[in-house]
């Protein structure tokens, strides 16, 4: 069983953190990963920076721009992660945009992920139909879970189709926004959380976008299995540096 699937079976609410590889400094990737694990984070999304990130807000976009200026590339990330499983045991997910993966070669990319010990992939701009028609067999061959997003606007029928196509968790975007676009949740969002919980999906759901502190983490995990923090964490390491990871995690739980 994949590390993500094992983690989802644990009887706790999961805290997942996103950070951009190669930010703030090119060699911070491994430092941040180790500190996240040591701080008790359950799962990590390693962002592969992209020049034109459509789903990201200003904070993550700026971190990607800086990481690219620092010299981050797909190959560089893989070489930084070589041997990572000697010390990191929590699930690792690579999150990025599809064009860099396509240019690297989808099969080669998946093979490298398997060799390193990556458990899953999130590519927000690789839609369900494209995945199923062209890439599903490759992801499966290398034991990678592909995580799909849903939003408050996703229809019930499509949520069910996504649930059927998934084998790990569903990434629930909390509201109609790019990353870091909201702060705290509205009543409308709470209704959405309840609605999805009541659908009895086969996959657990993990909430992302708009989670920045202990309160929003608790709200997001009242009905769902876990939550992902991205922009707020990037802001924290921008202000305090890569060595300050545990201070941030302590504020959440």
């Amino acid at each position: 069983m994949n590390r993500i699937q094992l983690k989802l079976k644990e009887d706790k609410k999961l805290l997942s953190l996103y950070f951009t590889a190669g930010y703030p400094k090119i060699e911070d990737t491994r430092t941040i990963l180790s500190q996240l694990q040591d701080s008790g984070v359950d799962m990590v999304e390693i962002g592969l920076p992209f020049s034109d990130p459509l789903a990201d807000g200003p904070t993550i976009q700026a971190s990607s721009t800086k990481a690219l200026q620092n010299g981050m590339t797909t190959e560089k990330l893989f070489s930084q992660l070589e041997g990572v499983r000697d010390e990191i045991h929590i699930p690792l997910i690579v999150m990025g945009y599809f064009n860099p993966m396509l240019q690297y070669g989808v099969e080669k990319f998946c093979k490298r992920c398997q060799e390193i010990g990556i458990d899953g992939i999130i590519m927000p701009d690789l839609p369900l139909a494209e995945y199923e028609n062209n890439y599903k067999a490759i992801f499966e061959k290398y034991g990678l879970l592909n995580v799909f997003l849903i939003t408050p606007q996703t229809s019930d029928g499509r949520i069910k189709a996504i649930d059927n196509a998934s084998d790990g968790f569903i990434y629930m975007v909390s509201s109609a926004s790019t990353t870091g676009g909201t702060d705290g949740f509205s009543n409308e969002t709470a209704t959405y959380f309840e609605r999805i919980a009541s659908m009895n999906l086969k996959n657990e759901q993990v909430v992302g976008f708009g989670i920045s502190d202990a309160q929003s983490f608790q709200d997001a995990t009242q009905y769902q299995k876990g939550a992902i923090i991205g922009s707020a964490f990037i802001k924290h390491i921008t202000a305090h540096g890569a060595s300050s990871v545990s201070d941030f995690v302590k504020q959440i739980r």
Binding site: D125, T154, V173
Partner: protein, 400 residues
Amino acid sequence: MNTLEKEKNYQVDEQGYYGDFGGAFIPEMLYPNVEELRSQYIQIMEEPSFQKEFKELLKDYVGRPTPLYFAERFSKKYGAKIYLKREDLCHTGAHKVNNTIGQILMAKRLGKNRIIAETGAGQHGVATATVCALMGLECVVYMGAIDIKRQAPNVARMKMLGATVKSAESGSKTLKDATNEAIRDWINNPVDTHYIIGSVVGPHPYPDMVARFQAVISEETKKQLLEKEGQENPDYVVACVGGGSNAAGLYYHYLNQPEVGIIAVEAAGKGVDSGESAATSALGREGIIHGSKTLLMQTDDGQITEPYSISAGLDYPGVGPMHANLYRSGRGEFISVTDEDAMKAGIELSKLEGIIPAIETSHALAIFETRKFKKDDVIVINLSGRGDKDLNTYIEYFNL
């Protein structure tokens, strides 16, 4: 011309692909919007009430049909029969308004009350602001910070028309980044907002929808050429290509008629190999930009390259998927023209025909210096826009 070639279809298929190119590579946040449009656009466009309103506005508001003008002195100089399809005479000064009229009617039928758009040269921004004023809808136009500086008259026009112009400060601060910002706005406003994309780019159905609205250009050209030459088909149709909407409009009814040569002219900037260019067919590889798979200027690592052209409307690192397919299949002949040659051609047309073209269009006009034609070849060039907005660039370039 063999039978196979005749039957080849250069139009979009049901999955939104033109050959290997197209599709809809969009984050889930955009899926409901794009799916709503995809599932309804053809049906809405075919409704008689839509067609009636669209055609009336094109006639009485835009000023269509635009003339097909035989450029006698220009033809004499280059030894061919050269016609100019005068899209510069459209209201707002370019072909862009054909599409924005269509899309604003589409937006109204979809129940949207807020419009967003991206713009490079400002022509699409002005055309969008214009139709929003006409229909009384809120309008927000994203424009790269650099383009805001070099296209000041169009920024002023948009503001006069009641639009809000938002500056895109990321990346190269040009059209690519304005498009990113507009897409982000749409993600954040999924219910009440329609995104009027200005070219044949973006996720399916945009490339097809925009091409269908612009197809009025080739539809008219066929009728007009029949009157003037006794034949519907020219030997060549020529247009400049940034994203490629004026080109798609001129090519549309000729795509599956292989006897008509299709020539696409891209901006070479300071030279294809200079590092400052926007010649996508020469420099691009298959990749994904703004939701569709197409030819794209990018690094080996898949990061999108910042393009360059003196013309803000051609300063885009990709082309629409229809054009990528025309290039790969060999159906289209792609030529790239430098800033210098385009600027000279712009001045030349002004002096020979009394028509000051947009610098975008000047690229198409510049091919005659290198591409030779037969004396009796009938060539239609899409004169996609007028040069008023580019006066400052012309003035600075030639010390006028």
